[in-house]
């Protein structure tokens, strides 16, 4: 029997597989298909202070080995997330959940994180300073070390639960941003959010997305994600949650070797709703195949290679 358990910022999870925010809703749709308590945890759809519709449609487009989305943080607002979604979530998921938070100002982030910090269902706060699909706020906090530091330290002062900062790949040096978050007291970082991208309908000679640009996800971005996790792992000591195009147990191992303590599975849940389950079921076999008894032993295993 191999050991898949990992310690993520002081909380032990049964396995490192975490469905990523925005690809798993609040869990109910997937709970109809399988018992989602097999997951390490999952990161729920990003909450903001106020309710948001998001961007106009079409907000999805296909790409080679992936997809674009420009959903733009649709959510009912943190009050309704707490009063309506969390009680329902609790019925289908009995582990600690990761609360994903977005904002448009430092005060927004502090407000929303403080609210969710008091919810017993929440284990970690994942602070998204990297959404490429909102105008003002969102990604702009994650593209300079100074603003990343500012948001992180403000949130850290306001909450008790571990804070994981979700980073944008749309920067020159992601390791520098990760370091700023660590210096500001972050308990972990997660990366990568989607890559800013676009497609054009050649019949209509116009962008496919109404928002013009969107975030690229799916297997197409996996090598970029591995590179960035590796760079961050060299720069910081706090745990890293690696994500970006993970679609197999082998990808989980690769991301772990790059320096990830846990991984998030995103777009793959949308194209195969059983993807996270399959990866969890497959992981012990793949670990055995590569002679890995304890997954936590190989975190960052490729860093000195």
């Amino acid at each position: 029997m191999v050991d898949m358990k990992v310690d993520l910022c002081g909380i032990t999870i049964d396995n490192p597989v975490i469905p990523a925010s925005g690809t798993f809703g609040y869990g109910y749709e997937f709970a109809e298909l399988y018992d989602i308590n097999i997951l390490g945890t999952f990161s729920f759809k990003g909450a903001t202070k106020e309710p948001r519709f998001g961007n106009p449609t079409p907000r999805i487009a296909e790409t080679p080995s992936g997809m674009l989305n420009a959903v733009g943080l649709q959510n009912p607002g943190v009050d309704k997330v707490i009063s309506e979604e969390l009680p329902k979530l609790k019925k289908v998921f009995n582990k600690k959940v990761m609360a994903n938070v977005s904002g448009f100002s430092v005060d927004d982030y502090v407000y929303t994180c403080s609210r969710l910090d008091k919810c017993e269902e929440v284990g970690w706060l994942e602070v998204n300073i990297s959404c490429p699909n909102v105008h003002g706020g969102g990604m702009s906090f994650g593209t300079s070390p100074k603003s990343a530091f500012e948001v992180t330290s403000a949130v850290k002062k306001a909450v008790k639960k571990p804070v994981i900062i979700k980073l944008s790949p749309n920067v020159t040096d992601i390791a520098e941003i990760a370091k700023a978050c660590e210096d500001a007291g972050a308990d972990g970082v997660s990366l990568i959010n989607t890559l800013l991208a676009m497609r054009i309908d050649i019949k209509k000679r116009a962008p496919l997305l109404k928002n013009v640009t969107g975030g690229l996800s799916g297997p197409a971005i996996f090598p970029v994600a591995v590179r960035m996790v590796y760079q961050c792992a060299k720069a910081v000591k706090i745990p890293i949650v690696g994500m970006g195009g993970i679609s197999s147990a082998e990808d989980v191992i690769e991301m772990t070797l790059a320096g990830a303590t846990a991984v998030e599975v995103g777009a793959e849940n949308l194209t195969d709703p059983f993807a996270s389950k399959k990866i969890i079921e497959d992981l012990p076999n793949v670990m055995e195949k590569y002679g890995i008894n304890k997954l936590s032993d190989i975190i960052g295993g490729a860093l000195n290679g």
């Binding site: 809703g25 296909e62 849940n269």
Partner: protein
């Protein structure tokens, strides 16, 4: 919703670019007309959502127009090929509120889901009328199939090459009906919405990510809040629509 492997029984053209495919597999998750299935195709990342046209104990019929890479690929599929399919998606039409004489209005590839709907309504002993709209005579399909069910059928073509010249709304006059069910391109839905005071259900189309409510890719604003076309729709009641 169920995931299953379906085998292609047949895949034949109905017009120059509209194809009909019969798929054999576990259809138990399909419970209402107006629902759709979501098909995974080799080499394409996102599934392709296609509405259910007809159903038997162990097969489902779909009709699709070749409009892009996915449907192009589908048009070349051969009997015996197997596909990964999510079935039983979407809310579907509610037949319980139709009254005695429902009218079904379909335009182009909005016609197929109305076929299973007509069958269900006829099973409930209702008197079903149908208006089918196409651009021209060479694009018409399923006129005879609806007639064979026992529906009263009116046909409209935009260029007048068959049936009434004009749009589906030009075929409304003189018809008596207790309820409207419709599916078609959005300009047609809007025209139907504006042409009648009758209670109605409209089936919408939107670019989808997952097709089962997880990604929020296809959300629209309604009178009763944000609705995911794939999960809370594709069918909306007239009073929910913000037009």
């Amino acid at each position: 919703m169920k995931q299953g492997i379906f085998e292609i029984v047949s895949n034949v053209p109905l017009t120059k670019n509209v194809f009909k495919t019969v798929l054999h597999g576990d259809v138990s998750a399909i419970t209402r007309p107006g629902q759709f299935i979501n098909i995974r195709l080799d080499g394409l990342y996102l599934r392709r959502p296609i509405s259910v046209c007809d159903l038997s104990e162990d097969s489902v019929t779909i009709i699709y127009k070749v409009v892009g890479k996915g449907t192009e690929k589908m048009s070349g599929m051969k009997p015996g090929e197997r596909l990964d399919v999510l079935s039983g998606l979407g809310n579907g039409y509610d037949t319980s509120v139709s009254g005695p004489s429902p009218l079904l209005i379909g335009g182009g590839v909005g016609v197929p889901p109305l076929y299973l709907l007509a069958k269900e309504l006829l099973k409930e002993d209702k008197s079903v009328s149908v208006i089918l709209g196409f651009n021209s005579a060479d694009e018409v399909f399923y006129e005879e199939e609806f007639k064979a069910l026992g529906c009263g059928v009116r046909l409209a073509t935009a260029d007048g090459s068959k049936g009434i010249k004009g749009f589906v709304t030009d075929a409304l006059s003189g018809l008596e009906y207790s309820y409207i069910y419709t599916c078609g391109p959005e300009p047609m839905l809007k025209a139907v919405y504006k042409s009648t005071d009758s209670p109605a259900q409209f089936s919408f189309e939107e670019r989808m990510g997952c097709g089962f409510g997880a990604c929020m890719g296809c959300t629209c604003e309604t009178v009763t809040g944000y609705k995911r076309i794939c999960r809370d729709g594709p069918v909306l009641f007239k009073e929910e629509i913000k037009w």
